[in-house]
């Protein structure tokens, strides 16, 4: 079991990495690298949903402040993810894991379940963020392509980070 301090350090590191990516990495209009969903889905499942939403909101808002973006976009997306991550977890993992896992990982729910869970959660985050950023569905194919490309890259990145750093004993 990881210690609380290790968790906090990991959270801070990922957050700093996210801020650096937002401020200094320019990958074009179709890619938005976003690691914040990883922080939100790592909030333990047994945490009260209201606390989870408040934590998600705070994480998103902090990123908005430090990333020099539009205040509120990441906050709204992270709150949305925090509100629905429990339901997504219930629907994407096997029955045996539903009630005894605190923080899902590749090791405890299996690689496919975890990737599925990560993909749906990141999808919720990306859709909310992109729709709020564009405030419309036009241009539709640009938005769709942006969500899909960012989703694939972010899920891959988060799976790597989760498996190599966060999932370690």
């Amino acid at each position: 079991m990881r210690s609380g301090l290790w968790n906090i350090i990991l959270f801070v590191l990922i957050f700093i990495l996210q801020v650096l990516i937002c401020n200094y990495v320019e990958l074009g209009a179709y890619i938005y690298i976003c690691l914040i969903p990883l922080l939100v889905i790592n909030i333990p499942m047994k945490t009260d949903i209201r606390v989870t939403m408040l934590a998600g909101f705070a994480i998103g808002l902090l990123l908005d402040v430090f990333a020099n973006g539009v205040l509120g976009l990441n906050a709204a997306a992270a709150t949305m993810l925090a509100a629905f991550k429990g339901s997504v977890f219930q629907r994407t993992v096997n029955k045996e894991h539903r009630y005894n896992i605190e923080v899902p990982s590749m090791r405890n729910v299996g690689i496919f379940n975890y990737i599925g869970y990560l993909a749906v959660c990141t999808g919720i985050y990306m859709v909310t963020y992109t729709l709020l950023e564009c405030v419309s569905l036009r241009p539709f194919f640009f938005i769709l392509l942006r969500i899909l490309i960012s989703l694939v890259i972010n899920v891959a990145l988060m799976a790597i980070i989760s498996n190599s750093i966060m999932d370690r004993e």
Binding site: R50, M53, G60, L71, G72, L73, A75, T79, A83, V135
Partner: protein, 264 residues
């Protein structure tokens, strides 16, 4: 669901909504693009809500407004008639005001028989008499054939034996107009002299050659012209939709007595 669970659910939903609204407000206040688009979306929603509420309001007030409009129409019609009489007096011989109109509401109406009848909510107490014409702004409706104290019965124009003296708007050629007996919007004008120039689209009006209906009430438009070798027959599409009759005017010809006296 237990009470504590319900309270928990409501507080969760409220917190979620509060956080989302707060985020959207922040986004709106911190970016011109977001502000412009979010406010645009809000205005669009407001506009469509206003439109819907106006429609509901209109539907609720529809009957009252209709009544008011019918009253206004009546006043205008009577005023117009006074001016017409005054103009006639200047032109030639003086006469008293030609027609008096009584506003009435249709209580019962039939359109699917060969002899159709209409019941009005005005009767003897309101000055209605048998033989009076009944019109609307879209044409003639029929003739009063029975009167009670508060109600009267009208033989509808949609009856096999009803005739209206009509004329063609452009040249004034007149002839009888009668319902064709099938569609409620189709009538036929007959006995038009062969040399008369008449074309589809021409308007048909009342001729005023009877004591029942005032002249120049639009009745319908010509849809087809037939030459039967002796005279011309015309198919007329009526302006009046008999299926949607609500308010009508009962017409009293103030000079009817004198005209009938002369006809004897």
């Amino acid at each position: 669901m237990r009470r504590s669970e319900l309270i928990s659910l409501i507080s969760t939903v409220l917190l979620f909504l509060a956080l989302e609204i707060l985020s959207i407000m922040m986004a709106s206040n911190n970016s011109i693009v977001q502000r412009y688009r979010i406010m645009g979306a809000i205005r669009n929603t407001q506009t469509s809500m206003w439109k819907t509420s106006r429609k509901v309001q209109y539907f609720i007030n529809y009957r009252v407004e209709n009544e008011k409009l019918a009253q206004e129409n009546l006043a205008l019609r009577q005023e117009l008639d006074l001016y017409k009489t005054a103009a006639d007096a200047v032109d030639s011989v003086s006469s008293k005001a030609g027609y008096t109109y009584i506003l009435a509401r249709v209580v019962k109406n039939s359109t699917n028989k060969q002899h159709n009848f209409i019941v009005l909510n005005r009767g003897r107490n309101d000055g209605i008499e048998t033989g009076m014409g009944v019109i609307t702004d879209n044409g003639v409706v029929g003739v009063v054939n029975a009167v009670q104290d508060d109600y009267s019965q009208v033989i509808s124009f949609l009856s096999a034996d009803q005739r209206v003296s009509a004329k063609i708007a452009g040249n004034g050629t007149f002839g009888p107009l009668a319902w064709k007996g099938r569609s409620v919007r189709q009538a036929r004008m007959t006995e038009i002299p062969e040399h008369t120039e008449v074309n589809p689209g021409d308007t048909i009006l009342t001729s005023g050659f009877s004591t029942i209906y005032p002249p120049d009430i639009p009745l319908g438009k010509v849809t087809k012209v037939f030459d039967n070798g002796v005279s011309i027959d015309i198919n007329v599409e009526l302006f009046q939709n008999f299926g949607a009759l609500q308010h009508v005017y009962v017409v009293a010809n103030n000079n009817a007595g004198q005209i009938k006296q002369l006809e004897k």
